[in-house]
Symmetry: C2
Subunit: 119 residues, 2 copies
Amino acid sequence: MEAAVHEYVAAFSAGSADRVAALFGENATVEDPVGSPLHEGLAAIRAFYEGSMATGAKLTLEGPVRVVADYAVFAFSVHLQWEGGAKRIDVIDSFRFDEGGNVAEMRAFWGPENMHGFT
Amino acid sequence: MEAAVHEYVAAFSAGSADRVAALFGENATVEDPVGSPLHEGLAAIRAFYEGSMATGAKLTLEGPVRVVADYAVFAFSVHLQWEGGAKRIDVIDSFRFDEGGNVAEMRAFWGPENMHGFT
């Protein structure tokens, strides 16, 4: 599960929606940010990540991955250039894994107070 | 919600189970670590924290609190002296709040790989 998190960060930063989608199970759900509509199933998840990566955003892990039961939870920062300035968003993601070792449920915790440089 | 997190960290480090319990709603649940039996209701929650604090553990926030929808999620480290040595546990907690601004559900994500110095 910890290796999956490192692959997620590397694949996202490399802009590969295929590598990111390969970490998820067929009927997985993505809620990013928490409170927004779910992206359900691999096709929707791949499309969501393709859109997210179009910003050129890079991810940086912030501290160790917490691993317990069927969960991996990790803090990270998102860095992107947008409208001529450097932006940062502080996020904590939770991954719940299925028995096959794929991500079944991803939830991303970040809100307006976690967005920096978006004046 | 962010203020509640700061009060939680301060109250825990001060060893006050009363101050910690005051942050929770009457029918709140605490799952610490995730996958272990729930502590349900204020009396059980207060007793759980009293036991946790008996170790003299102190909490240090690691990075900004993520706040979205009815959640506050935060990374921190637990520091304690035990059997003559300094121990550290890396944890991420999620707090879900009720409409009254009290914590309704707390889940603590940490596992064996997040425990350091427990040789």
